[in-house]
């Protein structure tokens, strides 16, 4: 194992998959000559050439559709959205064409495509550039959605996404590109199956269910809670769809309490689905109502203090955990 950044992990995943399969290509705004708006594709143009690392005009709907068409006839495109906030411009392609084709064609056309890019609120980008899109996309049958929080998960999930025969969205955490973590050496194949959660920290008093940018938040809060003698277990979903509900149930069977911390809004959200499944399947295991920490139900304001108030943060999570622990 060695320590690399989240950005570097994604870069390695791209390079390895491009190397492995000539049908894989990377397309998006600024991915080639500029090396990616977040430098995730640094060096790939030089290594794989302009045939496979392709800059596009600002036409998300157009190039998302181009990728789907190429996938219909056997290529395996990786389409980068500069941010998933811009994927909304391509919503019709991502929601109507990619996941529906298999059903509509009676099973003749599956779409092996990866849509990837940063997702979730970053820092003071205002309402249009701060979307967490997992709730929107996870509600669409035919799509798979993963949300890596660590460099290791980013690499393993992206590689798994490229090899999947269905449309997969890799929602990268915009704030975590420079974060570091331990990852297997490049000569060791790292694939993390879609739909497999991971316990990032063992605990016995409360389960904190989290994903993407809320994982480091939950880990930091867990460290603080430790000092107050509350032992929190951190369950990182890693994928939103398919959802590893068993991992959630296993943790709650142990702790009997749960707080769900999501980077998206609460209404019709990921946490709502998880709450439903918990009460349906392991109602008797609960010693307290489940609590959710999410965005406030407002467009994200630019003002730093207001933005911090709107987003899930350590104070809210801490208070939530104490409430379900009756502490």
């Amino acid at each position: 194992m060695r320590e690399i950044t989240y950005r570097q992990a994604l870069n390695e995943a791209l390079a390895e998959e491009l190397e492995r399969d000539p049908n894989v290509f990377l397309m998006g705004e600024e991915v080639a000559e500029y090396h990616g708006a977040y430098k995730v594709s640094a060096g790939l143009l030089e290594r794989f050439g302009p045939k496979r690392i392709i800059d596009t005009p600002i036409s998300e709907n157009g190039f998302a559709g181009l990728g789907i068409g190429a996938a219909m006839v056997g290529l395996r495109p990786i389409i980068e959205f500069m941010t998933f906030s811009f994927s909304l411009v391509a919503f019709d392609q991502v929601v109507n064409n990619a996941p529906n084709m298999f059903m509509m064609s009676g099973g003749q056309f599956n779409i092996p495509i990866t849509f990837r890019g940063p997702n979730g609120p970053a820092h003071q980008l205002g309402a249009t550039h701060s979307h967490a899109t997992e709730n929107l996309f996870a509600s669409v049958p035919g799509l798979k959605v993963c949300t890596p929080a660590t460099p290791r998960d980013a690499k393993g999930l992206l590689k798994a996404a490229v090899r999947d025969d269905n449309p997969v969205l890799v929602l990268e955490a915009e704030l975590l590109y420079s974060s570091k973590g331990m990852v297997e050496p490049p000569d060791e194949e790292l694939l993390i199956p879609l739909g497999q959660a991971e316990v990032k920290r063992e605990g016995s008093d409360v389960s904190i269910i989290c994903y993407a940018q809320t994982v480091p938040l939950a880990l930091a809060v867990a460290a603080q809670l430790e000092e107050e003698d509350i032992s929190a277990e951190i369950v990182d979903l890693r994928s939103i769809k398919p959802l590893d509900e068993q991992a959630v149930f296993n943790s709650i069977a142990k702790t009997h309490r749960a707080v769900i911390v999501e980077q998206d809004r609460a209404f019709c959200g990921v946490g709502a689905e998880i709450c439903y499944r918990i009460q349906k399947n392991i109602f008797d295991a609960l010693d307290a109502p489940i609590l959710r920490v999410s965005q406030e139900d407002v467009p994200i304001p630019y003002n730093e203090r207001l933005e911090k108030f709107v987003l899930p943060n350590a104070d809210k999570l801490m208070a939530g955990v104490k409430k379900v622990c009756y502490a």
Partner: protein, 345 residues
């Protein structure tokens, strides 16, 4: 440019008859409530798709919008599979899961059947991109209506197609109406073909009621693309005799206008051309027409007696898990992977 043999023209006339008889029968079956959802008929436009398929190879890619029954039939999908699809049966070309607007036939290189106006034009760009990526000389024919040319996805796709110089023939089937809105009320241009100019794509206007003109023009364009990949645009002027869909009485146009186009019927026209040239007798025509009618009647019987997919099967069509579906040839996939590998090396 080598012209098609006389025999082939009679075959293409027979195909136009099959399309027309199929659509008439579909209309009847729709009214009898055997067909659900929306149903958009191609009657009047037959020369467009027939002329186009006469100009391409069997392995060229074809993709279209929702008025798609004719495109599947022209591509070689059986009337049985088409009618069964309308009936929602498991023997349909999309297993009864797509319906009228979503006809797919992988084996015959018919890539849909797309019902969001303009949303398939980027897909066509991707298919042509893949041909170019693999170094194949395939051409993609992308059909769309006059209503699509004001949609954002159309414009984004045209720019990408021109920018990457992709081997696509953009075929605008201009039947003068986007649903009930005439081109004059929807489009700022005097003529649709001028849209292509904005993207530096060569464009031409073609008489869509004349099979020979469509075929010859497309043959010339496809030949030139095959030699040196590039995009092209044709505005094919045509007319649909029926309403936009089965529920539309088409009260937005006059009887006189409809009559004018009926007199210029593409089937009557090709028939007259062939008869004048001594290549087709009345008996031969009647024989072909009778055969078309019989084929279509048989397709209704086939559709009626076909099974539906069991309800629990719906879950099998959400994610592809490597199972081999009818029409999905893993060998073909491997072949294309190998070709891509060779092209990259």
């Amino acid at each position: 440019m080598q012209r098609l043999e006389q025999r082939d023209e009679v075959e293409m006339l027979a195909l136009m008859l099959l399309i027309r008889r199929f659509e008439e029968r579909a209309s009847q079956q729709y009214q009898a409530q055997k067909i659900g959802g929306f149903c958009h008929l191609y009657i009047g436009q037959e020369a467009v798709v027939t002329g186009a398929v006469a100009a391409v190879r069997e392995d060229d890619y074809i993709i279209t919008a929702y008025r798609d029954h004719a495109h599947a039939l022209a591509r070689g999908t059986s009337a049985n599979a088409c009618m069964a699809e309308l009936f929602g049966k498991a023997t349909g070309c999309s297993r009864g899961l797509g319906g009228s607007m979503h006809f797919f036939d992988r084996q015959n290189h018919m890539y849909g059947g797309h019902a969001i106006v303009g949303a398939h034009v980027p897909l066509a760009a991707g298919m042509a991109f893949a041909s170019r990526y693999r170094g194949e000389d395939r051409v993609t024919l992308c059909f769309f209506g006059d209503g699509a040319i004001n949609q954002g996805s159309f414009h984004e796709a045209l720019n990408l197609i021109a920018l990457y110089n992709l081997p696509v023939v953009l075929i605008c089937e201009n039947n003068l109406f986007a649903m009930g809105t005439s081109v004059k009320r929807s489009t700022s241009l005097k003529q649709i073909v001028d849209r292509a100019e904005g993207y530096d794509i060569p464009g031409e206007i073609v008489d869509g009621m004349n099979f020979r003109e469509v075929r010859d023009k497309l043959t010339e364009i496809v030949g030139s693309i095959r030699k040196d990949p590039h995009p092209a645009f044709v505005e094919i002027r045509t007319y649909r005799y029926r309403g936009h869909s089965m529920s539309d009485p088409a009260s937005y146009r006059t009887k006189e206008e409809l009559e004018k186009y009926r007199l210029d019927d593409p089937i009557t026209r090709l028939r007259a051309q062939l008869t004048r040239e001594g290549k087709l007798t009345n008996e031969q025509f009647d024989q072909r027409d009778k055969k078309a009618k019989e084929t279509v009647i048989a397709s209704v019987k086939f559709a009626e007696s076909s099974p539906e997919l069991p309800v629990e099967k719906v879950y099998d069509y959400v994610y592809f898990n490597g199972a081999v579906e009818a029409g999905v040839s893993p060998a073909k996939r491997q072949e294309s992977a190998a070709a891509a590998a060779a092209a990259t090396e």
